[in-house]
Point group: C2
Chain length 216, copies 2
């Protein structure tokens, strides 16, 4: 049976809508009070796993899920060995450098050597500042990165920004965009090549549906 | 001003109760709908930061918080450079090896070399299996580790267990306890030595209160 890994959080609802449009119904995951981590689609064709966004590529890489939906930010940060199949278009956001609005910094290159930059995306942050030849100290946080400049722990942050409301509420201003991110369809490379569980048919349906609906 | 880092999640309520008993009132964090990440205590003596449990020792290590409350499991896994001051007694749980109840395994040493073990606590897991001289492949997950054996991704998991309900619901059985964990009081080493912001007085109050209430 085809298994699809779905990300908890901001991409879940649209991921489930997209799968429903190709006949795979995992809307049970959206029912309030539903705490199930796995669910068989109503047609019995596929199983859905609801996991943390970061874990989606892990299940796909190990082949426990043949397909997965996850933000490009996770793929860029973790570089899992999965096949990247399609940009699904929804869940748009960007990974950006931000600083306190009153800091006086105009661009990332204005930051001092050895200053602290807090982020949950340490690999992307490291690569970016290396490309600028700026030796910053990266502080790995698990969340609420906006507290970095507020508490004085870090001069800057590198964080995902979607509407920008969180930055504004915390008097932070965006300096640079490292990259833009959207939801992506990924597959286990071997399953994709051998067309396990009728995978290619589902992939084609998902690709054409996301194009038709203007999602990508 | 004294700054205290408090952990979101299961330890938050008791941490705030303990601080209230020594006259530092951060109960505002518990009000429904309160999304503040920092709060000044009603007496104006201290500031509270509400952060992810994993981030508590980061704020304390960098000195942005002089004090913090966090589970021993986080300290054991991350080994931050902070002063361990007191076992506060609440938030008891254990880090355990578990397998599918029908797997036939009786103890961790029965697991095969190169089998997969899923965990969010990869350092503790690695140390434990190295001590058994068992070369397992550790799969790093961010959450819902119980899906490992269910999906067939891993033979075993290493996960925090408090009541054991999650294991039972997922037909998993506990084989070994790696260690027991409770909430701990930690401090920034330098602030502690120089008694910054009347730190030692608050620490003594917290220690004696947690002893009086039988928490430790």
């Amino acid at each position: 049976m085809l298994t699809v890994a779905l990300p908890k959080g901001s991409l879940l609802k649209e991921s489930i809508q997209l799968l429903k449009s190709v006949g795979l119904d995992f809307t049970g995951f959206l029912e309030s009070g539903n705490r199930q981590l796995q669910l068989i689609d109503k047609s019995g064709r596929a199983r859905g796993l609801k996991v943390r966004a970061k874990d989606v590529p892990v299940y796909v890489e190990y082949g426990q899920a043949q397909l997965g939906i996850v933000g490009y930010d996770v793929l860029r940060e973790k570089k899992p060995k999965v096949a990247h199949l399609a940009d699904l278009g929804f869940g748009g956001c960007r990974l950006s450098v931000a600083v306190a609005a009153d800091s006086g910094y105009q661009s990332a290159i204005d930051l001092q050597h050895h200053c602290r930059v807090a982020s949950t995306s340490v690999n992307s942050t490291r690569e970016y500042f290396q490309s600028l030849d700026l030796a910053v100290e990266i502080v790995h946080l698990s969340g609420s990165v906006e507290l970095g400049p507020i508490t004085g722990m870090s001069e800057a942050i590198v964080d995902l920004v979607s509407t920008g409301t969180t930055l504004k509420q915390n008097n932070l201003t965006e300096l640079e965009v490292l990259y833009h991110s959207t939801a992506r369809l990924i597959a286990h490379p071997l399953s994709y090549r051998v067309n396990d569980s009728g995978l290619s048919e589902v992939i084609e349906q998902l690709r054409s549906t996301s194009l038709e609906t203007g999602l990508s």
